[in-house]
């Protein structure tokens, strides 16, 4: 037995012993997702038990080094762990911006002290982070951001506002882009970290077209940030910000694979019934769903290849932009088909039978996929410039 086979056997046994049956059920709603944090309310004991077991083993962040709360797994081992979790339909023990975004940035740019201090609570699900990038006047053109940190010797005093800050009202800390040099556009931004309970921080939820309000306007009114709480170098936060965006885009791209829905046509065949030839009984929708399925199976292969290359440093550094573009456009197409497949049932907004309008709300939510973390148009600009090297892009 090869080392990897042995590892697979070990993982399989560990998962069998540690993953509670409730955590092998499909995610039904937002409450089923474990975000962690100081104020997180576990839905049930199994959710907490699963988080604790994984955190103790380093499996919330399997490929992070052990001193920072990970399991120190190689890319190949991590892939095996993911495969084995998928095999038993295990839920992700912990989802968070800390894992997806801040963690990779700290691993790359943080000091040893910062890594120990910030990464372990992320890995254990103790501190939940939010992302303070976008501002009312600075969306796609993020580098034009105006939130300002005035230098007061040993600390900054931050004033300004952010917008679209996902879960700002639930997060414990924020990683935040703050202008610290007004004369220098790219080299005048500092990547700061501070507690959302700091004096002067307020949040105001924004209601979305889905009827949910997962994100906020965030205001900073003379917020004091100690001059130890920044990542990378002062005024060079843009480098950190861009690196983090690469990871954010990689994470968002994952939605394209479609989670539990292996085949959309397969999933809807029962609802529609089949004709005598055994085909879904709506030929044009069948054709559209089949064409979509081809793109999804293809995208899963792309996801596998991308991760294999990304985790081993073989991928083009800008390739997560391509993944995000393709994956989010695919997910939007999926939910258009889910709505078509659902017919008038899928229009119901709050009935019990539709779990409170789960389908239309999810459909509307996906429209943000190609906006959040950088729009599709921006992804195409980046591909044109950094990968295809087109002039003036």
């Amino acid at each position: 037995m090869s080392d990897l086979d042995a590892f697979r056997a070990e993982v399989r046994a560990w998962l069998e012993a540690n993953c509670p049956p409730e955590m092998r059920e499909p995610i039904r709603d937002e409450d089923d997702v474990c975000w962690g944090g100081r104020n997180f309310k576990f839905k049930n004991a199994a959710q907490k038990q699963w988080l604790d077991a994984c955190a103790a083993k380093g499996y919330t962040v399997p490929d992070w080094p052990k001193p920072y709360g990970g399991a120190g797994l190689t890319a190949e081992q991590t892939k095996i762990l993911k495969q084995e979790m998928k095999r038993i339909k295990a839920r992700s023990p912990l989802d968070s911006f800390g894992i997806w975004m801040l963690g990779p940035a700290l691993l790359q740019f943080g000091t040893e002290e910062q890594k120990v201090q910030y990464l372990n609570p992320i890995a254990r699900g103790e501190i939940r982070w939010c992302q303070g990038y976008s501002e009312p006047g600075s969306g796609s053109d993020l580098v034009s951001l105006q939130t300002f940190g005035e230098d007061k010797g040993d600390h900054w005093v931050v004033n300004g506002s952010k917008i679209w800050t996902s879960y700002a009202d639930k997060a414990d800390w924020i990683f935040c882009l703050v202008r610290t040099d007004k004369a220098n556009k790219y080299q005048g931004i500092t990547f700061m970290l501070f507690d959302m309970e700091s004096k002067g921080v307020t949040t105001k939820p924004i209601l979305l077209i889905s009827g949910n309000s997962p994100f906020c306007e965030t205001f900073f009114d003379d917020v004091e940030v100690p001059k130890t709480q920044y990542v990378g170098e002062i005024n060079r936060g843009w480098d950190v910000a861009k690196y983090l965006l690469g990871h954010e885009r990689e994470m968002i791209s994952g939605g394209g694979a479609g989670g539990d829905m292996v085949s959309i046509g397969g999933a809807f065949a029962k609802a529609f019934g089949k004709n005598a030839a055994g085909e879904l009984d709506d030929p044009i929708l069948r054709a559209e769903m089949a064409a979509f399925d081809v793109d999804v199976f293809a995208y899963r292969a792309m996801g596998e290849r991308f991760m294999d290359m990304w985790k081993t440093g073989r991928a083009h550094p800008a390739s997560s932009n391509m993944m995000k573009y393709v994956g989010t456009e695919l997910n939007k197409r999926r939910h258009e088909l889910v709505m078509s497949g659902g017919g008038s049932d899928a229009l119901e907004w709050d009935s019990e039978a539709t779990k409170g309008g789960a389908r239309p709300r999810a459909w509307l939510r996906t429209k943000a996929n190609s906006i959040e973390g950088g729009t599709s148009e921006v992804m195409l600009n980046v591909i044109a410039k950094r990968i295809l090297d087109l002039p003036g892009a």
Partner: protein, 372 residues
Amino acid sequence: MPLYHNDDQAMLKDSVAPFMTEQAPVSHLRKLRDGADATGFSRDLWVQFTEMGLPGMLVPEAHGGLGMGHMEAGIVLEEIGRNLTPSPFLATSVGAVAALAKAGGTQAGRWLPAIASGEAIVALAIDEGAKHRPDRIATTATRAGNGFRLDGRKSFVLHGHVADMSIVAARTDGGITLFAVPRDAKGVTADPRRLVDSSLASHVTFDGVELDADAVIGEVDAGGDILDALLAATRTGAAAEMVGVGQGAMDMTVTYLKERKQFGKLIGEFQGLQHRAAHLYGEMEVARATVMKAQQLLDEGSEGAKLMVSVAKAKAGRAANLAVREGVQMHGGIGMTDEYDIGLYMKRDRALAEYMGDVHYHIDQVARMNGY
């Protein structure tokens, strides 16, 4: 196994890629075409292929080949696609070898070593109409004496007029049987037709062709699995070649965007073109990953291979088609000229798209395999 080329495969690519661009670039195709070549490929080039061991890549070592897999064959096919190189590699060294190796027996012992040594060209006689419908084979092989009598008509048989042997799928009493039919068998007529991409494909008629019992590849009535192996290998190979065609077209087009000026600017500065080129890049990357996954699953003998092969043929078909269409469009007027290569890519893509099932056929297969 990770979904990228390992060191050996990267080395293979490093030797095949320059070989193809030096020995068989697009100008090689033009020369054959303009000289009204009647073979459909260059025998001299096939000798060079043989010196590199390419014809026998997939042939098991016991039969004199290299015993490599579809991932390796795909590397060669991608370069063939990128250079529009005419050759019998796909039909002979991929499709025929997959069938013979799966079947084993007399015919495998006879033909596999001959393929590996570059001596034998083998054609695949599967389709019977303008569209790929392997489930509707009407060619019949009826028992006669100690052997069979073959009657029917096949179409789209690449290299059919020059192949030393054709693998013919025919209906027998209890199912499908594959036969090895030598070119000189009495009653075989090949009518080669020049296709849009300058290749030659034959309509082949079998009129009471008498075959010995040992002409059967594998077992009588049990040709279904062997045919499946042949189809899976050929479809995956065609998909790999299309990735090469699409990539070649895309590279040429992106280069052109950086050279051509209009409105006082390089046309690559226009966002209307940038976004389309970037979209195409994504589609090509996805197609490449998909084809690699199909190759990997075939090499592993995985159950999931069949599905992924259809996905790969469909996805590569869509992506390469987009590449050649955008390629011609973004070249403007010169894209319409015979002098520029981009049109040749469009033509080859069209032929490969039809070969062994088009996009629509394979999308339908994916639906069936998923129970709808």
